[in-house]
């Protein structure tokens, strides 16, 4: 009887939280799924059911395909740059913990993560400027011809990868430092006794031990990479028609379809595709972590 009362109390206590979670998290997802099967222009009261027509159209839409390819390249590009760089930086900062500059190192790396995105992107836009940007000036010192960073179809994607990596690095380093601090010191001492050098300890002890952290940071970085939008928007925008090349990414394409083309159902089908991608990545993370737990 007491058990049952406790169970009812626990359920009642958790119910408001569950209700809020269902309202702000589950309902929008369910509604997006429903919208993806309808044709709706946002203004009309009618939302006719169109089945999978939106998804079929997506398959032949070159703008969506461009957006999907660009977004995937950006997400994996950011991942490839961020993870190894963050790991190395975190190791360097961790092994300088006793230095009086330790706080400065951590802050310097973390600041880009907390800086507001728009001014940061504007600063990078100036750095990448083909005519006035310091990057081209630097390259010219090495005899490299100036590049149209924000206009070349390949380089403009590279610019977004650089900007996103610069921002993502701070968070990844922070998590890795926490990971380093949780590693048992005895392992490093044992490795030292066995004659392992610093880089060897890093490669053979730290990297394998930090695998769960790496998995977590990887998935978080990858998911945020798939949600890239503001970086692409700011790098291509300007007040008076002298902007950069618009790198089409999924979120931007969705916004365009929703608010410019008034095709909310179609944009919802894009959102469902993005959701599926993110879901698959999350499932991969869970399966890998579970395997690690079992081993």
């Amino acid at each position: 009887m007491l058990q049952r009362k406790r169970w009812i109390f626990a359920m009642l206590a958790i119910l408001p939280t569950l209700a809020i979670f269902a309202w702000v998290r589950l309902y929008p997802i369910a509604d997006t799924l429903r919208l993806s099967l309808q044709k709706w222009d946002m203004l009309s009261k009618n939302k006719p059911f169109v089945g999978l027509a939106n998804f079929r159209e997506l398959m032949g839409d070159h703008l969506f395909q461009d957006a999907l390819v660009n977004t995937t390249i950006i997400a994996f590009g950011v991942l490839i740059i961020t993870i190894p760089t963050a790991l190395v930086l975190a190791a360097l900062i961790y092994h300088r913990t006793r230095s009086r500059f330790a706080g400065f190192y951590e802050t310097a790396v973390f600041i880009p993560y907390v800086v507001s995105l728009v001014p940061a992107a504007m600063a990078w836009k100036w750095i990448f400027d083909a005519k006035l940007g310091p990057l081209n000036v630097l390259l010219s010192m090495f005899g490299i011809a100036p590049q149209a960073w924000l206009f070349n179809p390949v380089l403009s994607v590279v610019c977004i990868i650089v900007l996103c990596s610069w921002q993502a690095l701070g968070y990844a380093v922070l998590i890795y430092i926490v990971g380093f601090k949780s590693l048992p010191v005895s392992l490093f001492e044992a490795a030292k006794l066995d004659g392992a050098s610093g880089p060897q300890s890093f490669w053979y002890v730290s990297v394998p031990m930090l695998k769960p952290i790496t998995l977590y940071v990887s998935v978080v970085t990858l998911i945020s990479g798939f949600n890239v939008y503001a970086q692409a928007f700011v790098l291509a925008s300007d007040a008076q028609g002298a902007p950069g090349r618009q790198v089409r990414v999924l979120v931007l394409d969705m916004l365009e379809n929703s608010f410019r083309n008034y095709r909310v159902g179609y944009a919802a089908s894009e959102a469902v595709v993005l959701l599926a991608i993110v879901l698959v990545l999350t499932l991969i993370q869970f399966s890998l972590l579970r395997e690690k737990g079992r081993s």
Binding site: D41, A148, Q246, S258, R260, N261
Partner: protein, 441 residues
């Protein structure tokens, strides 16, 4: 040491005080709020042109005498964000009355879904009066003969050219044909020792988001006798640029970028570049005149009409709201069209007012650059974006296609590739029209 009982007593009395203070504050705030509401009325103006904000504030100032309690909140943001705001704001419902600035082509969807009310009788009569507006503007602000908006200003393009640069290049008059545009651009381009252009001869819109690229393309296409969309019977349309006019237009862009290299995609462009002397000429709307007056008053320049005609893109004011608030908003809208305010608009902002029968000569005499916008040649033609629901999608998708074409050097000088590109883009346009039931046979 304080006993437990005393501590509890003190806590209870503190709580009571806090509660009383809270209730008092809430009641006071409510009373104050209702008193203020009784005396003041607030309307919000949504604009997609930040440079229009001073105009709307100027109109509000002028209304103070007749509407002392009217508070006008002007919210002017970039056009693309403004369009998103309207799409969300009108469907989710806005408190109070909102004056909304929209082009006649974009507003169509909202009117078809009854999201904007028709204009009151006095406004309707004013808009329908031919002494005030040409039928082109009246029709643009109406649907099925019912007036919904108040015509305010229009986007109309002319050539802006730097007279100093023209003189240095030995050019005595502005280009009169599209072939001359390219020839002039070649003569006006300044290059460094390696041959790279440092000052573009003719600044073209080659990049960026939104539909601006397609609108600029249409302007030049129009000079060759083409159009992005062609009307047919029964309100149907079809793409009209996969043809000779389209080929000539795209060839001209590619010829300037890749063959003659009078401009490159990464060069500074548009009004800013013109004001800084980084381009010799470009095609733009009249607002640039006021922009130059503010940012580069010493610039030596002139304007000229385009060879055949120009885009004429009217922007109107609509009201969303009910009752007294809506009445105040329509009063405000009427005030925007007073002769004094329209002259102020032309003088200080530079957008061309649509109302006729107003004496703008004080401004046009003081700023001769307006002449090409007002005193255009006999037979000068105009086109506008069709008022059909998918127009924004058509233009935005065409813009994305054109941006890709402009960055593809393989298309330059290759007529077959240009034709294939234009056919593919036109097919996409026709597919959108077909999906919406608007494709002509």
């Amino acid at each position: 040491m304080i006993s437990t009982q005393r501590l509890e007593d003190r806590t209870v009395s503190t709580r009571s005080l806090a509660r009383a203070a809270l209730i008092g504050t809430a009641l006071g705030a409510g009373l104050f709020g209702s008193l203020s509401a009784a005396g003041a009325q607030t309307i919000t103006v949504w604009s997609g042109y930040p440079e229009m904000a001073p105009f709307y504030e100027h109109v509000a100032q002028g209304l103070k005498a007749t509407h002392p309690g009217l508070n006008v909140k002007v919210e002017a943001i970039a056009l693309r964000e403004h369009e998103k705001r309207i799409a969300l704001g009108l469907t989710s419902g806005e408190a109070g009355a909102t004056v909304i600035e929209l082009s006649g082509s974009t507003v169509r969807r909202y009117l078809e879904n009854d999201l904007l009310p028709s204009a009151p009788a006095d406004v309707s009569a004013f808009v329908k009066d031919p002494k005030n507006f040409d039928s082109f503007f009246t029709n643009d602000a109406s649907k099925d003969g019912v007036v919904y908006g108040m015509p305010l200003f229009r986007g109309q393009a002319s050539l802006f050219y730097n007279t100093d640069m023209f003189a240095k290049a030995g050019l005595t008059h502005p280009p009169k044909t599209m072939d001359e545009y390219t020839d002039y651009a070649a003569k006006l381009t300044l290059r460094d020792a390696t041959g790279h252009p440092t000052v573009s001869g003719w600044s073209l819109r080659l990049s960026g988001g939104g539909q601006g690229i397609a609108e600029k393309f249409w302007t030049i296409l129009f000079e060759y006798g083409g159009s992005v969309l062609e009307p047919a019977a029964n309100g149907k349309w079809k793409a009209n640029y996969a043809n000779e006019a389209g080929r000539k237009t795209l060839k001209q862009y590619l010829d300037n970028v890749y063959t003659r290299k009078t401009v490159t995609v990464e060069m500074p462009a548009d009004a800013e570049a013109f004001e800084r002397g980084q381009t010799a000429m470009f095609i733009r709307e009249s607002w640039v005149i006021s922009d130059i007056a503010a940012k580069a008053p010493d610039l030596k320049y002139a304007t000229a009409p385009l060879p055949i005609g120009s885009i004429g893109l009217p922007t109107n004011l609509y009201v969303k709201g009910e009752g007294k608030d809506a009445k105040a908003a329509w009063d405000y809208v009427m005030a925007t069209n007073s002769p004094e305010n329209l002259v102020w608009l032309l003088d200080k902002v530079g957008w061309l007012p649509n109302r006729g029968g107003v004496d703008y000569s004080a401004v046009t005499k003081a700023q001769p650059a307006f002449a090409s916008f007002v005193d255009y040649p006999q037979g000068y033609k105009f086109f506008t974006l069709p008022s059909i629901a998918p127009i924004d999608e058509i233009m935005t998708r065409l813009a994305a296609q054109l941006a890709a074409a402009y960055s593809n050097p393989a298309l330059a000088g290759n007529d077959a590739a240009i034709d294939a590109f234009l056919k593919s883009a036109a097919d996409e346009t026709n597919t959108i029209l077909s999906r919406e039931g608007l494709l002509a046979d």
